[in-house]
C-alpha cells in the first residue's frame, strides 16, 4: 500500500514539475529542432526517456537535464534525416519551391542544434556562458567561442 501511494505521489510530483517546466522546454525544443519536427513531439520523447528510467523529482536540475535530452534527440534526428532532407527540394516536381518560413528564419536553419541552443539560452533566456556550459555539457571556452562566432555571423543579417 505504501509503495503504490509512493508511486502515485511520485507521478503527481513529476507531473507538477513537468507542467512548470513545459513552457520553457517547448520554446527550447522549438528553437533547437529543425522546422520539420514538432516541438511537442520532441518534448514528449524527452519526457518518456526520463520517466522510463527515473523520476523528475529525483533530478537535481530537471530543466537542464530535459534540455540536454532534447538537444541530443534533435541532433540525432538531424543526423539521421540529414540525407533525406537534402534531397527533398531536388525530388520536388514543382519548379516553384515556396519557402514556408520568412527568409530570415532560414538563417537559423543553417545552424546546428547546439549553436541554436547556445544562442537561445544566451540571448533569450539570459544565461551566462558558465551556466550554458554546465546545462548543455559543454566547456565554457567552447560556449564562448560559439557565441562570439554566432554573434559575428548574425550581425551580417
Amino acid at each position: 500500500m505504501g509503495k503504490s501511494n509512493s508511486n502515485t505521489d511520485l507521478g503527481k510530483s513529476d507531473r507538477l514539475i513537468f507542467t512548470n517546466l513545459y513552457k520553457d522546454l517547448r520554446r527550447f525544443a522549438a528553437v533547437v529542432s529543425d522546422v520539420d519536427i514538432e516541438p511537442d513531439d520532441l518534448v514528449q520523447d524527452a519526457l518518456i526517456a526520463v520517466i522510463s528510467r527515473s523520476s523528475l523529482a529525483d533530478l537535481d536540475n530537471p530543466l537542464a537535464y530535459m534540455k540536454r535530452i532534447i538537444l541530443n534527440q534533435s541532433a540525432s534526428k538531424r543526423r539521421r534525416f540529414g540525407i533525406w532532407r537534402g534531397l527533398l527540394p531536388k525530388v520536388s516536381s514543382d519548379s516553384s519551391y515556396e519557402d514556408y518560413y520568412p527568409s530570415d528564419l532560414v538563417v537559423l536553419e543553417t545552424l546546428n542544434p547546439t549553436d541554436r541552443a547556445v544562442l537561445y539560452m544566451s540571448d533569450i533566456e539570459g544565461y551566462r556562458h558558465s551556466e550554458i556550459a554546465e546545462q548543455l555539457g559543454l566547456s565554457e571556452p567552447a560556449v564562448r567561442s560559439v557565441r562570439v562566432e554566432l554573434g559575428r555571423n548574425c550581425l551580417q543579417l
Partner: protein
Amino acid sequence: MNIENLLEERSDRGNVRGAANVWFDAESIQSKEQTKSRKVLVGATLAIWFLSLTALFALDDSQTKAISDIEIASSFPNEIQPNISKKGSDQENESESEIKQPARIDVDIEGIDLQRVSEPLGLTVEEQEDLLQRLGTEHPTQIVVFGEKEDPFVGPLIFVEVYDNRIKTQTVNIDDYEAYTDYISLSENGDLQALPSSGLSKLSTLDGNGTKFLKSLETYQYEFAESPNQSDEGVWAVLQAEALEDYSSLEAILYWLHGSNESVVSKVKILSNDGVVVQDPDSERSDVVIWIDDGYMYRFSVGEFTGRRTLLGKASENISALKIVSEDDWNQQLGSVEKSESAWLVLVLAAGVLFAVSAIFYAFKKAFISCVISLAPIGVSVFWVSSDFGFIEIGFCLISAFTAFLVFKYRRKGTSLEAV
C-alpha cells in the same frame, strides 16, 4: 529583424498541445513499453534459470551417486582349492546370496583425497558380448592355464589362448616368453599338456571372455588425487573394485593375469587378504596390486602426472596406505566428491545466468558496462575447469554484479549523459 526577434519567432512555432496532453501521451506510451519490457525481461530470466537448473540436475544425475546395495548370485567353485582365501570365510556357498558393496577402502597417502567415483556401466553379459562383437574384439574360445599347483603365483604361469584356427600364448614369471614350449606341448590327441620335467600342472580351463567370473561390467573405480582437476600435476591412486559373478578367487586372478604377458608376479598380503603384485613388463618402476575380498576383485595402482605425461608407480610400496574406513567416513568422502564435482558447474551456470541477465538488462536499460564486464566470468569459467583458480571466477561474478548495480544506480540519478 534582429537575432532576438528571430529566436522569439522560432520559439513560438508549431502546434501547442499543452502540458497536460503531452504528459498524458508520454505516460501512456511509457506505461505500455514498461509492461512489454517487463514481461519479456521476467520471461527470459525465468527461462534462463529453468534451463540452468535443468542442466544442473541432469548433470548431477549422470555423475557421482552414492553406492547402492547390489545383489548378485554367487557360488564357490570347487574345481581348484584356492591358495588365496576369501576374507572371513572358507565355506562354499552354492545358493544365491547377497553380496554387499565394495569394501570402504581409503587410500591414505599424504596430500591426496578421494576425488572421483565412477559408477558401473551396468551392461549385462549379453550386452557386453554384443558390444565387443561390434568393436571387433576377438575372444579365444578358451584359455588353458598351466602353473605350479601348490603355489601358482610363485613359479611360471602359462596361458594358452585357443582360437578357432590358432593359439596364442601369454606367460608370467618367465624371462623368455617364447620358452613356453619348454613347459607345455601338444599330446598325440591334440590336447595341451604340461611336460613332466616342467613341474607344472594344468590348473584350469577358463572361458575366453571371462563371463564365468565377471558380473557384467560392474566395476567401481575410486580415484584419489590432490585436486579434482585431472590436468593438475601430482600424485594419484586408483582403486578398482570388480564384482565377481562366479566366486573363484584364483581363477578370477588368473583370468586377469592372462592379459599381463611377460609380467612378474609375486604374492603379498593386503588388508589381511592374500594378493598378488603384478609388475609392469615394460617398467621395473611400476606395478599393480590385486586381491579378492568378499565378492570383489580389487586392483590398486598409483602414479604421478607431471603435466606432460603419466608415470606409473609401485602400488606394492603403498599397500600400507590402504585402510578400511567406517561407513560414515566413507559417505563423508563421497559427499565431498559430489560437492566438488557439481560446484564448478554451478559456478559456470551462475556466470552464464549473470551474463544473460546482464545482456537482457543492457537490451532494455542500455547498461553497456554491466554487459561487457559479465563476459569475463564466461571466459574464466573455461579456464577454471582446467585450473584451480576458482576464486577468480567468484571475483569476476562479484565484480560484474557490483558494476551492474553501480551503473543502474548511477543512471537513475540522471547525472550521466546518454545518447537516447
